[in-house]
């Protein structure tokens, strides 16, 4: 059985290499208001006129971080296993179903528990939870099958 939607196995490593610095950058941007000066757009005011703050310049540091995080997660999630076969395909599909379900359970819970501006944070994390839950669930099941019933 061939899954055509998968990337070559080496993308798992590329994904991790991309994800780690992007997560660090994302955390710096989010929690310490960090930004790279050279990513400041000169025409920020013009295109941000629809936003809340008219004086706000657009800086692309957060765009860069999120792009790296999403691409990193996608690469890890969609990388083929070294020995990709029908059982691994089944785990993949199951894990995706799990991830979608848990993602929305978490979102529903957060919708009722988190209010006001904090909910923007919820939506931000929710952009990534589906991929994160998928990756964790998929690898946990793979690992469990590797170590149970040793010979």
């Amino acid at each position: 059985m061939r899954s055509t939607l998968l990337l070559p196995n080496k993308y798992k490593r590329i994904g991790i290499i991309l994800l780690i610095p992007s997560l660090v950058l994302g955390a710096l941007v989010r929690f310490w208001d960090f930004s790279f000066d050279f990513l400041e757009l000169p025409f920020g005011k013009a295109i941000s006129s629809g936003s809340l703050n008219l004086d706000e310049q657009i800086n692309l540091t957060d765009e860069l971080a999120l792009t790296g995080i999403i691409l990193g997660l996608i690469f890890i999630a969609f990388a083929r296993e070294k020995q990709e076969d029908e059982y691994i395909n089944t785990i993949r599909l199951e894990s995706l179903q799990w991830a979608v379900l848990i993602n929305y359970v978490l979102l529903l819970a957060a919708t009722w528990l988190v209010h006001g501006f904090a909910y923007i944070d919820v939506m931000m994390y929710n952009m990534l939870t589906i991929l994160i839950i998928f990756i964790i669930r998929f690898h946990v099941v793979l690992r469990k099958n590797r170590i149970t019933n040793p010979e």
Partner: protein, 66 residues
């Protein structure tokens, strides 16, 4: 469905890893089949039977709840 893969492996004296390599699947797949967590496709069942020189129904057996 249950199966006798573990028994057949013991008879032929091969490890999960060797069996996996010979039929071109991961070791996890063999492990999952032996612990009845995964029902293989017809293609995979036929490959396993062929390797052990038996009929599919001698290795894969229906259970009451199937």
């Amino acid at each position: 469905m249950k199966n006798t893969i573990r028994v057949e492996r013991a008879i032929h004296n091969i490890t999960q890893q060797q069996l996996a390599e010979q039929i071109g699947v991961s070791r996890q797949t063999i492990n999952a089949m032996e612990s009845n967590k995964y029902v293989p496709s017809t293609v995979l069942a036929l490959k396993i039977a062929k390797l052990f020189g038996k009929k599919v129904e001698e290795i894969f057996l229906l259970e009451d709840e199937d």
